[in-house]
Subunit: 441 residues, 2 copies
């Protein structure tokens, strides 16, 4: 690798070589049957070279030195053709990394058989517990990543690790009622995925959904589940913490550090080292050490997150939030593992206290939220009506509003926390919000 | 390969091995600069084995015999765990293939340099022709595919070939006006991509868009461009021709073969052998010979398209429309190359005849169309107001309706035809529709 850096330094002022090796095994379910099992893997090398502030970026799916050399040549040709980026400062310098948790090497060798077995067990269990339920879909996966990031300033960091996940989607049919797709999932750094827990929670929700309740226009307390929170926040809220948006003036959080933007209940941070994290990385996509970055502390906005480029443009330091997109090769600001702090009581206790309100398991349409101002308009589905402290049945309704208004109404977080391994990876409890205006459907 | 089939036949009643090798080079543009160049490739093998009507499906990213053997073992384990599919009949038998056009081996060896050069030329040209325009995005790509499909009934077919594409997205800024993103593209089976033509057409549309015209509620003639047609038809219309939907009773075309469903102007068929086709395959994803399947002939609905599974369930024959999804390994009904027959006059002549109407270049929101009934609600953007036979400026408006009502109003197709290489691959002219109700925005 050192030779390749030296080779590239003949033409480039600065140079970064990032090598990613991956292995992914997975198995899927469709309509109660295993539909597919697969094993995939490979290597990708990304070259980022800068000459007179002109950037060249090349990607190849190999880590063979001869092919990497060719990619360096291609990046050089690109840099020559591009115009200078006057905002460019420099690639990152070396930093001090935290000590990584020991990777679980069991995940490196995982076979799809194991996932097939878990899925079959899940299907069997679901159909035993509810003969009217169909496992409409589902997937189990184990991914393993090895990466090394080296640059001409002396950064040289290697890391490896893996994670496993499993989810099932159940649909119940009883009489005239067909429930919406009901999801539940687990993700962790070992293969002890909680198949029984997934089925139990999903079957419970399907059971609730057999009773269909009309929704109406009203203002009520609403408990949002982890999947609903991850969906809404990924699109409406989290982008606002990006330093790039601060520079480009497209975040409503500009100039508001230290201000109360949420109720005291809410503490939220990004930290790949949280105990439930499925990706405890010590370095981000450009080799900058990761750390715990507090976003909201007891309701108070604490700061933005940065990658190397936008931090230097703004005159600050990277917070270790440069994420590499292996499709485009580029680095952009992102999160490793957003945690919402948990509370003391169970979801059950929280539901028991509501006279009339809703529990929202998932949102549809969250991707069309506007992170420039926090506005959203989503369909709550699956969602459940709560009356007299009990779930009475499933409802569908619209929720339109502003995510910052919602944050101020957070009144309690559950003690259960769930890892949502899709979209932005989040670890979040169920959260109760007061005075949520909903539109019946 | 024969050995592997024999190995698999020890446990399976029927077995299919499909091997895909690919090489993709691409280069991208962001904000007037080349942002990335990449080379990727690899092999994927899909095993489909059936034992007592129980299906096992395994995927590996390799074509090494030892790894394929392991995938066969995995498929066997899956088949054992699954319940029988009572609808299963059999894998396809051998058929007679057409003679394939000679592949263009220049595409097999294409380097990303060539694409970078074309994109740089496109950027330079666009900025010369319109100094207010920014090339906001774009991509050039060359893909090469080699595949072999073998099954235990004697199917054994190999094919190879490649295609190249290039698109640019321009945004113009003039005074207070920022135009929407304006796209144009080219795709073909050689590297002579028409960079100049792409830029010329895109710059023309940007020029039109500098003048912003309010839209209002009215009923007018509308010319839909190839990109708009491909977007709308991919989601609202084409799924209705699927035999699976006939069996499942989710197509409004059930029982209507021979009926007039469109104006006489409209003839549409699926044929990978059309002269502009970018993928002239002789066999579909399960080795069934492809052919020309007429969907609509002078307005009359001519028939459904089928893969092997649904054709046999329905008691008919596959039309060679089994498409393999390399993510899931599965076969589903799809199209190779949907062609709408061209007309005699140019787009310019068609525009010259309109007193008041619109030319729609692209639709947003087409993916939420309902193929069960053909209903759609889309935003026309970019779209252009035509008055007195001339384009006067850009407008945005809503179009909501039913695609079958629209088909009856088709009155003319242009002589220009464009290949749209995204979504469903289509080759389509500009088409004029009468009495289109639009809602101003």
């Amino acid at each position: 690798m050192e030779n390749l850096i030296r080779y590239g330094e003949r033409f480039f002022d600065e140079l970064e070589i990032a090598v990613y090796r991956s292995r992914d095994v997975s198995a899927s379910v469709e309509l109660n049957e295993i539909s597919m099992a697969s094993t995939r893997g490979g290597a990708v090398t990304v070259i980022r070279g800068i000459k007179n502030r002109r950037l060249g970026l090349a990607i190849i799916d190999s880590d063979e030195p001869e092919r990497v050399k060719k990619a360096i040549d291609l990046a050089r040709e690109m840099a020559r053709l591009n115009s200078p980026d006057e905002k460019w400062v420099s690639l990152p310098d070396p930093g001090k990394y935290r000590e990584a948790p020991k990777p679980n090497y069991e995940l490196k060798e995982a076979s799809p058989d194991k996932l097939v077995e878990m899925l079959v067990r899940g299907i069997k269990l679901a159909r035993e517990k509810d003969p009217n339920a169909v496992v409409a879909g589902g997937e189990g996966g184990v991914s393993w990543r090895e990466e090394r990031i080296v640059n001409s300033h002396g950064v040289d960091v290697s890391q490896e690790g893996g994670a496993a996940f499993l989810f099932l989607e159940l649909v119940g049919r009883k009489g005239d009622v067909v429930t919406p797709g009901i999801f539940d999932f687990d993700a962790r750094r070992d293969l002890n995925l909680d198949v029984e827990g997934i089925v139990e929670k999903a079957v419970q929700k399907v059971k609730w959904a057999y009773s269909v309740k009309a929704s109406k226009n009203e203002e009520v307390p609403v408990i949002l589940g982890p999947w609903a929170i991850a969906g809404l926040f990924s699109y409406a809220l989290l982008p606002a913490f990006s330093g790039e948006r601060l520079v480009k003036e497209t975040t409503p959080l500009a100039g508001r550090i230290g201000e109360r933007i949420a109720s005291e209940t809410l503490t939220m941070y990004d930290d790949p080292f949280h105990e439930l994290s499925i990706q405890p990385v010590i370095a981000d996509g450009e080799g900058v050490p990761t750390r715990k970055n507090v976003l909201i502390e007891n309701g108070t906005f604490r700061g933005f997150v940065w990658d190397n480029y936008w931090a230097k443009v703004h005159g600050t330091e990277s917070t270790g939030n440069g994420k590499r997109d292996l499709r485009s090769g580029g680095i952009s600001i992102g999160f490793h593992n957003v945690v919402i702090e948990k509370g003391k009581r169970s979801l059950e206790d929280m539901i028991a206290e509501i006279d009339r309100g809703y529990f929202v398991d998932g949102f549809q349409g969250a991707h069309s939220s506007n992170p420039d101002n926090g506005n959203f308009a989503v369909t709550a589905n699956p969602a459940f009506l709560i009356e007299d402290g009990e779930v009475k049945g499933a409802s569908v309704f619209l929720m339109a509003g502003n995510v910052y208004d919602l944050l101020k109404e957070a009144s309690e977080a559950s003690r259960e926390q769930t890892v949502i391994p899709f979209m932005t990876t989040m670890i979040t409890p169920f959260v109760r919000f007061e005075n949520v205006r909903i539109a019946g459907k």
